[in-house]
């Protein structure tokens, strides 16, 4: 009886791992393929698609990508835009969430419903009037011009997410501080913000990834080569060097480095954030 059970356990494990390994291979193979292509010199690229280890690996694509076409500038552009946007998104939405979760005020329901309704509007649906708005406000073709649009479009979701989290912080703590005469700002800054660090970390990560990778809006509003962000630059790379896939993927790998670092370091927050964002609502 015991032996049978042990065998069942072992076959159970073997089957699980076999399925996971097969799916895992399919999932990771395109990345390995991209990585391998980025190390192939041009002549090898179209030869054998299944050959993962390049015959004579070369860094030439990385050197070319980093040297050519102001790639460093584009990297810096992306970094500035996404860091500024991320900071403002987290700051503004945590303030709004604090207002919603701690106070009653005339029009509160209206404001909150307006935010929830906004969550159902597809972002792309707004791109035409947003473009006209950016034109009228003279925000086209500048890096600063991207920021208000990135922040404004992300406020709704992050406010919604943080409100839920702030509600779970015991109100008694606020009241204790209130007795000591702490202002609303101090209760927000010294009490709620430190206690909400996990939720804020989640918001920070998603805001950073969202703005670092943003393509459609940047594509629509940026024409000047000096203000290109990385996603624009990479897509254009492919257009300009249509057969130099090694170069395109070397550039892509460089652009993915910050994302992978953030992902690997904070991957536990991804689970927490998704669980909070999707399952609770």
């Amino acid at each position: 009886m015991m032996v049978v059970q042990r065998w069942r356990r072992i076959t159970d494990y073997v089957i699980r791992y076999a399925i996971l390994a097969v799916v895992g291979t399919v999932m990771i193979y395109p990345f390995l393929y991209m990585l391998s292509t980025s190390f192939k010199s041009r002549s090898w690229i179209l030869n054998d698609p299944l050959q993962l280890i390049p015959k004579d690996p070369t860094f030439a694509n990385y050197v070319t990508a980093l040297g050519a076409n102001h790639f460093g500038l584009f990297f810096l552009n992306s970094a500035m835009v996404s860091i500024a946007s991320t900071f403002l998104i987290v700051f503004a939405s945590s303030m709004m969430a604090y207002g919603f979760s701690r106070f009653d005020f005339p029009g509160k329901r209206f404001f909150f419903i307006a935010i929830v309704v906004g969550l159902t509007i597809p972002t792309m649906m707004l791109i035409i009037p947003q473009f006209l708005l950016a034109r009228d406000l003279h925000l086209l073709n500048t890096l600063q011009g991207l920021v208000p649009f990135y922040v404004g479009s992300s406020l709704g979701f992050n406010t919604f997410l943080l409100s839920g989290f702030f509600e779970s912080i015991p109100r008694e703590l606020d009241e204790a501080m209130l007795v000591d005469g702490a202002s609303a700002w101090r209760r927000y800054w010294n009490l709620v913000i430190p206690l909400a660090k996990p939720a804020l970390a989640t918001c920070t990560i998603f805001a950073f990834l969202g703005t670092w990778d943003e393509y459609a809006w940047a594509l629509t509003t940026l024409n000047d080569p000096n203000v290109r962000t990385l996603p624009i630059a990479i897509a254009l790379f492919q257009g300009e060097h249509s057969t130099s896939w090694g170069l395109v993927f070397a550039a892509s790998m460089i652009a993915m480095v910050p994302v992978f670092i953030v992902y690997i370091v904070f991957q536990r927050h991804f689970v927490a954030g998704l669980a909070a964002g999707a399952v609770k609502s």
Partner: protein, 317 residues
């Protein structure tokens, strides 16, 4: 005395959602505006105002030259829309994309979540691998899949034709409507399963172990436990995943734009790429807005219908 400390008596009949419970009384406060209004103002400018503008633009014949008249045309743009073969095809294409990607993401995502919902050594590694495509940018993965499917001696042909012999000769994946859509859908599934897996995994982890143990004592096998314990317990999560995936499916954009550009000859156009072409290649802002607005209504009606359908089924069961 600061205004926030004064507990203002609310008039009779005013909504007292929070204080009706007795505890949890919140102060009526005007300080809250300092927290809410700056952000809300930006939100209103960037999201709410353009949302209304989309509809208003779609009722005009917008002239992009400033100062030139943009006459009202009522629903003329929408009338043109329902007779526009490219738009109708683009809707069919997005239906195909959604029908192909949503069930696969649900089934594979749920399957992986079930496999990973136990004390399995190395589960974190698998979780990281499955979720990796989700965090990678759409631009990069779209270019990657264009490379995988794009040429005659591509990886896709090497695997499906030369290795598995599924077709007699090399396929021009991105050069035809349905194979193009299949390639785009393949990217959609590959990029999306990690997301649904993670949400299912979070939901499964929350199912109490005792329920499984009780069912096991009653002699329920693994499949019976999954069907009768896990599935009902994760129902709310499943509903949300299906809803968000369907909404996402109809909003597919960057992958189509970068893999086929809607071509050849508009064959793989989806509503958003067609909208984008009309607006920013043809400068037909009003027609583009009509496409945007029609798509939004379509998506909202679909999700409302799906929500109502699932609720009625839950009640009937």
């Amino acid at each position: 005395m600061t205004p926030e400390r004064s507990v203002v008596e609310r008039p009779e009949g005013a909504r007292q959602r929070t204080s009706s419970a007795g505890r949890r009384r919140r102060r009526v406060s005007y300080v809250a505006y300092a927290f809410v209004l700056p952000g809300f103002g930006l939100y209103a400018l960037i999201v709410l105002y353009p949302a209304v503008q989309t509809f208003l633009l779609s009722m005009r014949n917008w002239n992009i030259v400033p100062g030139q008249p943009s006459p009202w045309v009522g629903f003329a743009n929408y009338l043109q829309l329902i007779h526009d073969p490219v738009f109708l095809d683009s809707v069919v294409n997005s239906v195909f994309y959604t029908a192909a990607t949503v069930p696969l993401q649900i089934v594979i995502g749920l399957g992986l979540a079930v496999l990973l919902d136990s004390k399995l050594p190395g589960r974190v590694v698998f979780r990281v691998i499955f979720y990796l495509p989700v965090v990678t940018s759409w631009v990069v993965v779209s270019l990657l899949f264009q490379y995988i499917f794009g040429s005659d001696d591509s990886l896709a042909n090497a695997v499906f034709v030369n290795m598995l012999h599924l077709a007699p000769h090399n396929v021009d994946w991105l050069g035809n409507r349905w194979t193009g859509l299949v390639s785009i859908a393949a990217l959609g599934v590959w990029k999306g399963v990690g997301w649904s897996m993670l949400i299912f995994l979070a939901a499964l982890t929350a199912v109490p172990r005792e329920l499984h143990e009780a069912a096991a004592i009653d002699g329920a096998g693994a499949w019976a436990r999954f069907r009768n314990v896990s599935l009902p317990a994760i129902r709310p999560a499943t509903l949300v995943v299906v809803l968000l995936l369907i909404m996402g499916g109809f909003q597919v954009f960057i992958s189509v734009l970068l893999m086929t550009g809607g071509g050849p000859n508009n064959a793989t156009q989806v509503p958003l790429t067609y909208m984008y072409t009309q607006a920013f290649a043809n400068y037909n802002f009003s027609y583009g807005s009509a496409i945007s607005f029609a798509l939004t209504i379509l998506v909202l009606v679909l999700s409302a219908a799906q929500y109502a359908w699932t609720r009625s089924r839950t009640k009937g069961a």
